[in-house]
Subunit: 160 residues, 2 copies
């Protein structure tokens, strides 16, 4: 079995991380939605006040997966950890990268002392849902995600 | 009509803000879930690296509502704004506090240049859903929220 290495991503990983983000966007049927560039990721994720932390999964020096997290604030639990993306490239599924990345994320959350790790999943992505449930996660089906997008923000302000 | 004042909350508002948080938790049928104290809110929301920003709605000097926001990171859109809570106390509904608070949140997001403002709503809270849709927000019903709670984190780590 090939050895999986999980490590913190650095700025030089961002072009490959962006490829993984785009691959997921295609899977989620929204390939045009990715407006972020590698330069944005480098600027936003590193430096004085990083907006996220990223872990990558390597096999033989090749990055086959990534997990991207940042803190949120629960008015019930205080600072919590949010997992924005957990991506394994299609050609490297089934060899343990997803589990290894999630293990690292949960360990990181425990190190930070958070009382919750949250994420979102598409309700038709049964393999992902089964994987998460098997790991003890709770699916909150009665909560809906609401977005006011860029155009929505403009329209909103024009109608105040 | 009574004048509504929307202003940024300070540390001294946190005891009243916590009352509003608890009132919402009762409405959401989870009154025991609030572990945060006013001291936590004061420590986490103010100082060098605040974990959130809070706005309060006042009528005649009495705080009848609040909105609490913080940045998130979208791998598609970059830094976005998340509205964790928008609460109006029951006795002061219907006089415009909710709209005034949401207006301020959307203005704040626009000032920050974000491409999205997100939040979550309970799928049985029809008045809230109608209010948000009327304001141009999109309901993403195919996304489910996933939580690994404090016990789940411990169990997870014990089974790695």
């Amino acid at each position: 079995m090939k050895q999986i290495v999980i490590r913190e991503a650095g700025p030089l990983d961002m072009p490959r991380v962006l490829e993984l983000i785009r691959e997921l966007a295609v899977f989620e049927r929204e390939p045009e939605a990715v407006e972020v560039t590698a330069a944005h990721l480098e600027k936003d994720g590193f430096g004085d006040r990083p907006a996220f932390k990223c872990f990558v999964a390597e096999v033989e020096g090749y990055v086959g997966g990534m997990a991207l997290v940042y803190p949120r604030y629960s008015t019930w639990k205080g600072v919590v950890l949010h997992l924005e993306d957990l991506i394994v490239t299609e050609s490297m599924r089934g060899i343990g990268l997803g589990v290894a990345l999630l293990n690292r994320v949960v360990q990181y959350g425990a190190e930070k002392g958070v009382k919750r790790i949250s994420w979102e999943v598409l309700d038709w992505n049964k393999p992902a849902i089964d994987f998460y449930k098997n790991k003890g996660a709770l699916l909150l089906r009665d909560w809906d995600v609401v977005h006011l997008d860029e155009l929505g923000i403009q329209n909103y302000l024009n109608n105040i």
